[in-house]
Amino acid sequence: MLGPGVSWYLGIAAFLFGIGALGVLLRRNPLIVLLSLEIMLNGSNLALIAFSRQHGNGDGQIFALAVMAVAASEVVVGLGLIVSLNRKRLALDVDKLSTLRG
């Protein structure tokens, strides 16, 4: 097998996932939160593809494609929400959008 072993890929995947998770947890701008979510998804995609490659089985790659499709639709919805928030001149701050509090 060419190139580095699967553990390298997994390390990068975990790193990406961690960056994304921290971004989701720490940032307040919904745009950035959305971006961080995408990074998390990509981290997991990378892990899927790495395992797929290691096992010589295409299922994981198909799964990654499906995740991409979901991510794309999620971006469509999320960006739409952010645009309409902006149009209503609401603060672009997830901490202030808390009307769902019980």
Partner: protein, 630 residues
């Protein structure tokens, strides 16, 4: 020949469905004519069946026509079938013929009512139910028709649903009838248990092999249904109250058709009753008792329709007496003539009520005859037929019942005495009504409230049926004059032959006729002396009067026997069980849920980051657990 019977059965159903489906798209008058037309078609179908049957050999006149299997449970199977035999054709003719006249009469009577379409849909439904009852090809279909007439009678009695008294009366009638339905169903269960079939023929042959207890139970159950439907003591209290319905309803249901269903049932299942002779005599005894009691109560009623209602009970008593001693043809003959003259009396009373804008109290009606001569003559003809004065219809049918009672041993003599007392009472209360309402100078109330329809006494749709029934009340009895000519007895002989014990001698016929006519005339004479010449005063006896006015305390008795204990029991369970257990338990449950909810609500911060943190934290915990367990 069953085609006529099927047409007869289904035409009124089609009428009811058409009126219901069309709703407000058709005018009220159209609905009325659809209903009348559907019943007229039924009558035509009955005539076709009758003419067909005339051409057949008397032994070959009974046919069952099955449409399909109605229900099947294991080896138990019931067809949807009609039975066409002389008895059912006889009933079909009476029900659809008199029914047609009464529905026609309703067009005039109900004109201007708010909900005429509903009324006419109910009328058609009722006629269908009644025809199903008489044509049903097995006992289960008979019971279905039995229940359906109960339902449509409930709907029609409570037709004026804005009146609380009408709703009460409808409920009372329904509950009483449901009691009868239940006893009938129990009788059928016994039959099914023994023969696994509800076909008439099987039931009849089985009843011959049953133990006497079983056959007595079956007959008793059937008698319960018959007595409830026909308003015989002790299940009679609903009929007078049912007069809350529109008058044509009273004429149709409570004079001509439904209340006679009990007589039909006993004649139809006479084989079972003959195997349970005690129960059959009990039916005759109930009839005899009802003749006298209803006649006495009728003497003191002040509502014109209630007097006629009690008279109906009393006359059905005669029919019960007839089928009780086994002279079925005479019972059915009286059923027919009674349908004519009692429908006539109700409809003539309806013309008066209509002209007086709904007044029903006879004390206010005095002298209406001067303003409505034709109605007066019609009512007089009906009254004479009811009392049984020759040559009016009642004479021929009632007197042969009385004569047959003489032939039937010692209990026959008891029945005979009751029947004769009943004749006297009939003359008295009928002509009390006639003299009070129609004779004399019109009272101020009548002058003030009487309004005539364009100079006539009523619209032609009302007067034509009254006229036809007047003619029938006069000549309707001539078709049979025992012992000289007896076509009805011969017609019904293949289905319900008269018991030998109820065949009177000629001298009995003669004695019964003379006694009955004399007593009837005596009743009329007393009524004339008291209410017309006023030379006799009404005897005053407080206690007796109160007894009659309270209708022998039947209502009060049932109230304290059944209603009050049931009400007390439900009150007790409400206090003892529902309030502390069901209601309090529910409240407790709700309180607890609220308490928990109040605590859990704190978790809902509205900050997405807390949720995400919870997710991530949960994931981390899971990962740690996973690794540790691995």
């Amino acid at each position: 020949m069953t085609v006529g019977a099927w047409i007869c059965l289904l035409a009124p159903l089609a009428g009811a469905v058409a009126i219901t489906a069309a709703g407000t798209r058709i005018s009220r008058v159209t609905a009325a004519w659809i209903s009348t037309g559907s019943v007229a078609v039924a009558f035509a179908g009955a005539i076709v069946a009758f003419v067909d049957m005339l051409g057949k050999n008397p032994q070959n006149r009974s046919h069952i026509s099955s449409a399909w299997t109605w229900l099947q449970a294991g080896s138990f199977k019931v067809d949807l079938s009609v039975l066409v035999d002389p008895l059912s054709v006889f009933m079909m003719l009476v029900v659809s013929g008199v029914g047609m006249l009464i529905v026609l009469y309703s067009i005039g009577y109900m004109h201007g009512d708010e909900e005429e379409r509903r009324y006419f849909a109910y009328m058609s439904l009722f006629v269908f139910s009644m025809l199903m009852l008489v044509e049903g090809g097995n006992l289960l279909l008979l019971l279905a028709g039995w229940g359906l007439v109960g339902l449509s009678s409930y709907l029609l009695i409570g037709f004026w649903h804005e009146r609380p008294s009408a709703i009460r009366a409808a409920k009372k009638a329904f509950v009483m009838n449901a009691f009868g339905d239940a006893t009938m169903a129990l009788a059928f269960f016994v039959l099914i248990a023994h023969s696994n079939s509800l076909a008439f023929s099987t039931a009849f042959t089985t009843s011959g092999h049953l133990s006497s207890t079983a056959v007595n139970l079956v007959a008793l159950g059937l008698l319960g249904g018959a007595a409830a439907k026909s308003a015989q003591i002790p299940l009679h209290t609903w009929l007078p109250d049912a007069m809350e319905g529109p008058t044509p309803v009273s004429a149709l249901i409570h004079a001509a058709t439904m209340v006679t269903a009990g007589v039909y049932l006993i004649a139809r299942t006479h084989v079972i009753f003959e195997h349970a002779r005690t129960i059959q005599l009990l039916a005759g005894g109930l009839g005899a008792l009802t003749i006298v009691v209803a006649g006495l109560i009728a003497l003191v009623q002040t509502d014109i329709k209630r007097v006629i209602a009690y008279s109906t009970m009393s006359q059905i008593g005669y029919m019960f007496l007839a089928v009780g001693i086994g002279t079925y043809a005479n019972g059915m003959f009286h059923l027919m003539t009674h349908a004519f003259f009692k429908a006539l009396l109700f409809m003539a009373a309806g013309v008066v009520i209509h002209a007086l804008a709904g007044e029903q109290d006879i004390r206010n009606m005095r002298g209406i005859g001067a303003l409505m001569p034709r109605t007066k003559w019609a009512f007089l003809a009906g009254s004479l037929a009811l009392v049984g004065i020759p040559p009016f219809a009642g004479f021929f049918s009632k007197d042969s019942i009385i004569a047959a009672a003489m032939a039937d041993g010692w209990e026959g003599w008891v029945f005979w005495v009751c029947a004769l007392i009943g004749t006297f009472l009939t003359g008295l209360y009928t002509f009390r009504l006639y003299f009070l309402v129609f004779r004399g100078e019109p009272s101020p109330f009548v002058r003030e409230h009487h309004h005539s329809d364009h100079g006539t006494e009523g619209p032609w749709t009302m007067m034509l049926p009254v006229g036809i029934l007047t003619v029938l009340a006069v000549i309707g009895g001539w078709i049979q004059f025992a012992p000289f000519w007896t076509p009805i007895t011969r017609w019904l002989a293949p289905v319900a032959p008269t018991l030998p014990s109820a065949e009177p001698h000629r001298w009995m016929e003669l004695v019964a006729s003379i006694a009955a006519v004399l007593l009837g005339l005596a009743g009329i004479g007393v009524a004339w002396l008291v209410y017309e010449r006023r030379s006799l005063r009404v005897p005053r006896a407080r206690s007796v009067q109160r007894l009659f006015e309270h209708k022998f305390y039947f209502d009060e008795l049932y109230d304290s026997l059944f209603y009050k204990p049931a009400a007390a029991l439900s009150e007790w369970t409400r206090r003892g069980f529902e309030e502390p257990v069901v209601l309090a338990g529910g409240t407790e449950l709700g309180d607890d849920a609220q308490f928990i909810g109040r605590g859990v609500r704190r978790l809902q911060t509205g900050l997405i980051r807390t949720y995400a943190l919870a997710l991530a934290g949960g994931l981390a915990v899971l990962a740690v657990v996973f690794i540790a367990v691995k």
